[in-house]
Amino acid sequence: MNGAAPARIAPNLIAEHGLTDEEYRRIRAALGRDPNLTELGIFSVMWSEHCSYKSSKRWLKHLPTEAPWVIQGPGENAGVVDIGDGLAAVFKIESHNHPSFIEPYQGAATGVGGILRDVFTMGARPIASLNALRFGSPDHPKTRHLVGGVVAGIGGYGNCIGIPTVGGEVNFHPAYNGNILVNAMTVGIARTDRIFYARASGVGNPVIYVGAKTGRDGIHGATMASAEFSTDSEEKRPTVQVGDPFTEKLLLEACLELMATDAIVAIQDMGAAGLTSSSVEMAGKGGMGIELELDRVPMRESGMSAYELMLSESQERMLMVLKPEARLRAQAIFEKWELDFAEIGRLTDAGRLILRMNGEMVADIPLGPLVNEAPLYDRPRAAPPAPRPLGVTTLPALTDPKSALLQLLGSPDLCSRRWIWEQYDHMVGANTVQRPGGDAAVVRVHGTNKALAMTTDCTPRYCLADPKIGGAQAVAEAWRNLTAVGAQPLAVTNNLNFGSPERPEIMGQLAGCIEGMAEACRALDFPVVSGNVSLYNETEGRAILPTPVIGGVGLLDDQARNVTFALKGSGNLLLLIGETRGHLGQSLYLRELHGREDGPPPPVDLQNERRNGEFVRAQITAGRVAACHDVSDGGLLVAIAEMALAGGIGAELEGLDAPPAALAGLLFGEDQGRYILEVAGPAAEPLIAEAAQRRIMLSRLGRVGGAALTLPGGRLISLDEARLAHERGLPALMGAASADG
């Protein structure tokens, strides 16, 4: 060891590393002695919530992860799903919440960089990215700055590396004032016979470091992401990493060039916890040992200690185990791309992580305890209180549907996201078949006639009111969005964002949401293949809304069979699939027009979801559908308005009349399992007949045409008015942001 016996670790140092006294006792037991500082740092990141899932693992086991088309489920860098013809879709979502709150541009940018690496580490060329964002109240003083910085950071990274950012979602709620959420998802394409894993093998095989040099940035990012914020969080800025998308572009091309040959045994990117997690996980998964010579690590600055080298989260780095004979070939490729290439160690069969620096041993840790014996907690949980029924009788009757619609269309959660996605290059790659703004983005698989549909979804207010229903609803909505563009849903990646697991009510939310998600994934044959858990999203005891984001991916065998949600032809019929009961609990109507966030969320009937969705997809595939849109936030009238605005053509609506007390529920209720279809005359008859035969609930909504939405009773909402309300929402909110940069 470095010097004589290590100095006794002071109690405050243990706490500063986010370890409890009990966890420290386990470390001593694993080593049979006190750890030195480097070893303590390594244990602290490997046993952090971020890397070990110690509070969530017990619950994650409930999620279904298998299906005949799943090639790789959770536990690798990303999930892998077979899409036929020897190709696979590789995808994952990951959070960068804490860094993005502290430094929004770099936090969000490196979030994108990290998820891109997770995907190309598996041998896939990334084809698209999405992001699920949650910000505080629009009038909170920090919100503009955070939105502006996060959006610029996502664009700055994705645009430069040249992977289109094609979709996602944004919500605003005061519960995120002190903890924003930035969840980034990437989808890639690989050949099924060239998928690369992190499982190391082969005693003596060289361990190679490639990419950017290591600096002092981001030390302890994983531990930071596993602690709640206090008011001095902004002092944590030095732990935020800085992204370099140009270097990542070189790393992407160099890795894919090397992966086309037969050189790599195992590969893992250096993300959270950097060199520590990549070396430990590769060796651990393969049941090997690993020895590293830390002085060989390419360094950005001199005088870095073993502790700093192991914990740095400098970006754009990869660790690989190569076949020995491939070393020179690999080196030539990385030199072509002007990237560092250094042999820093080798695999052993000793089952230990051994680190040396300048000839001295600086750490010696048995890998078993580090990887498999991380503490697991079954934390106490409190069942969430059942939501009280909504007292509809206390709601004033809806008398002016037009102004209600305009108010909803311009509200922060429903207004047009154009201001955001015009800052993202969503077309680079020349394969974006459906651009942002619709139910799901559709991206063609290069060189084939297939396309992938992708979406992210979650309705946090439902999850707060009833975690189980909210969890199921997030899955069902993702499945519905993929269905609505004509895709067959394949699998999901999930990003579970919650508050502190040390509070029973938060554990109750986590367990409830997972239970609902598991049920929905099972009912819809929509397994979870990858994911990420982000806990401790709270500040001074105030937690975010439970936000289990679902990233869904679906397949179109023939990309030409996709449909958009834009209305297309004057005279076409508008049909509604699914039942409208007028559920107003937790609706945006209730919140935006009456300032109320109460009642239960709409029930999710998974069998009904599946039947309706399969019917809709079959009609789209049969070429009978001109446009399709799922009905979600804001309800029926908002969905129709969105279709009209996208197509630049109005509709004459029928049947949307009810007594004053029931009108709000009819127009703006958020009942699940519904789709609006636009159908041209000749296709209507067989479609309606098939619905009747399959006992699908179908009703007529009217006809497409004109430059307005005409409500029963003759009330007119012109598209120009609706467009103005819809388009000015976000620019008005962000108006001051461009001025202060």
Partner: protein
């Protein structure tokens, strides 16, 4: 027609333009790596979009001094038709092959959307298939597309018919709201003195396929291939 696409580290539209060129000409272009100081004779040189060398320092500034650019300049000076799209346009101005500069967008934000461009002259090998005053729809995607030159240069470009495209409304009228980046006189693309070099900010290669929602880009490449045949 045989084309070469120059690939800098950080180019990211090289594949997209190669696909569009192959679709128009039936021939795969030669991909030329930035360190190559020589490449086979070609009928067209294309500098693609992207972030060459990360666009660090200034967009296009470092690429303009890369080894391959000496050869590109030599051939362009001798009349080999040369096309720079987006980052390629920035490289051409930094290399002195086209006048003026592309500054940060007036909004200070990256902008990616479809725009309309009015064809200012059909009298060039790049635009011979278009009528004067015709409008085309294709996307822009850039952070630095705000074309700037001094008034004398702008007057000269106009006088010599060297403005290829201007940002316009769908009906061809030139308005401020049609201009996505604040470019002087709504300029979207310009020629050198002999009109053998074209630089433009929009990406014709991104709307060259009906599946992607438009084909004006395909018409652009088809016309260019025809003129070079």
């Amino acid at each position: 027609m045989k084309a070469a696409v120059i690939v800098f580290p950080g180019s990211n539209c090289d594949r997209d333009v190669a696909v569009a060129l192959e679709q128009a000409s039936g021939r795969k272009p030669v991909m030329v790596w930035h360190r190559d100081s020589d490449f086979e004779p070609v009928d067209l040189i294309v500098l693609p979009g992207g972030f060459a060398y990360g666009d660090y320092l200034r967009a296009g500034a470092m690429a303009a001094h890369s080894p391959v650019m000496r050869e590109v300049k030599r051939r362009a000076d001798r009349g080999t038709p040369t096309l720079g799209i987006c980052n390629g346009f920035q490289v051409l101005t930094e290399a002195g092959l086209l006048p003026g500069a592309l500054m940060r967008n007036a909004s200070l934000q990256f902008v990616c959307k479809d725009v309309h461009c009015r064809v200012e002259t059909g009298q060039s090998l790049f635009t011979s298939r278009f009528a004067n005053g015709e409008t085309l729809r294709w996307p822009v995607a850039h952070h630095d597309g705000n074309y700037f030159a001094d008034a004398d240069t702008l007057d000269r470009l106009e006088g010599e018919g060297r403005i290829a495209f201007r940002y316009a409304e769908p009906d061809g009228s030139l308005t401020q709201s049609a201009n996505p980046n604040g470019s002087a006189r709504n300029i979207a693309g310009i020629f050198n003195e002999t009109k053998s070099i074209l630089g433009l900010m929009p990406h014709p290669e991104r709307l060259a396929d009906p599946a992607l929602g438009g084909t004006d880009g395909a018409r652009f490449f088809a016309g260019l291939v025809e003129a070079l045949r």
